[in-house]
Subunit: 196 residues, 2 copies
């Protein structure tokens, strides 16, 4: 199975794959998820629909893969030796212009997710679950190092705090999240809630 997937994937170079997924993000921003078609992606990227389906399986999966490309770095790859260092690196690798663009994209997809269970599942499997797992690994290491008490109730709510802040800020203050807000929110809310 893994071999079948890897041979299926090997047909595109990483550069060509990145180019295709970037074009999907452009189209998503222009027309939104509902209106996006595999035909439009094929036309924009001068590729065949057969290639798109062979490579990604379906429109929801193609979109979820494209969304994964917006993240400069996965939380799974961060391990500095302290919780403060890990969160610091998370903030440092965030990009203000990128986050503003992501906010608009995520807003559009948040609506589409409720119309399409397939898109919901693809985004969850490819984007949300891996990042939440990465966050949980980060927190477990902090517990193991004695930086957070193992029974601290806020431990299970760190994804809610971070994802919630991302969505609530534009609603409350009418501006997208930037690095300064993220750093301040983590210091003011996340660390004290964790007792760290």
């Amino acid at each position: 199975m893994a071999d079948a997937v890897s041979s299926r994937r090997s047909r595109l170079t990483p550069e060509r794959e990145a180019e295709l997924l970037e074009a999907v993000l452009d189209l998503l921003r222009e027309v939104g998820y509902e209106t996006l078609t595999m035909d439009a992606v094929a036309a924009r990227t001068k590729s065949s629909k057969a290639t798109l389906y062979r490579q990604w399986g379906s429109k929801p999966e193609l979109v979820a893969h494209a969304m994964r490309c917006t993240k400069p770095m996965s939380l799974r790859d961060i391990d500095t030796g302290s919780l403060r260092g890990d969160f610091g690196m998370m903030v440092e690798h965030s990009d203000d212009a990128q986050m503003a663009k992501d906010t608009a994209l995520i807003r559009g997809l948040a609506h589409a997710v409720h119309e399409s269970p397939e898109l919901h599942r693809a985004l969850r499997d490819l984007l949300v679950e891996p990042e939440i797992n990465g966050l949980q690994l980060m927190l477990r290491r902090a517990v193991d190092r004695g930086e957070i008490a193992p029974d601290r109730p806020a431990l299970e709510y760190v994804p809610h705090m971070l994802i919630g802040a991302f969505i609530a800020l534009p609603l409350i203050e009418d501006r997208p999240v930037d690095r300064a807000f993220l750093a301040d929110f983590i210091d003011a809310v996340v660390f004290p809630a964790l007792g760290a």
Copy 2:
């Protein structure tokens, strides 16, 4: 100006006004904001469009007034003498079935808000600002009583924590907020962040 508004408003009894706004919420749930028309509201409630415009001015304002009716109690009316008591009453006056219905409504409106600046403004003026002001009054009293340090950084992020949790829970755990979650989140995150 206040007199003009009050005489404009006095043409409907409170019972009839509540009935009209309830019908607006039903229509919103059925067809969504974009598709909702003043004609449909007039037909459903056997009233004239002239009455609707005289009473509420516009579709965005009518919808914002209707959304305000979903709230069993305003935060401004809560003052138990302690922060724990105030948050406890906020949770106690929440209703699980109502919150599940509100989640679906808010999800629909969150999308419409980005298409309609008028709806955004009406919801902010009539719904979001008054509740955030109520929350800030509640927190200021707690500071005055010495329950929270006046320079506690999390003070300015309480709306972000609460509104964020409301929106993030359905995304992360695929379920709407209920009283048990709200109570647990406040104990695990909000109180420790405030050092209260």
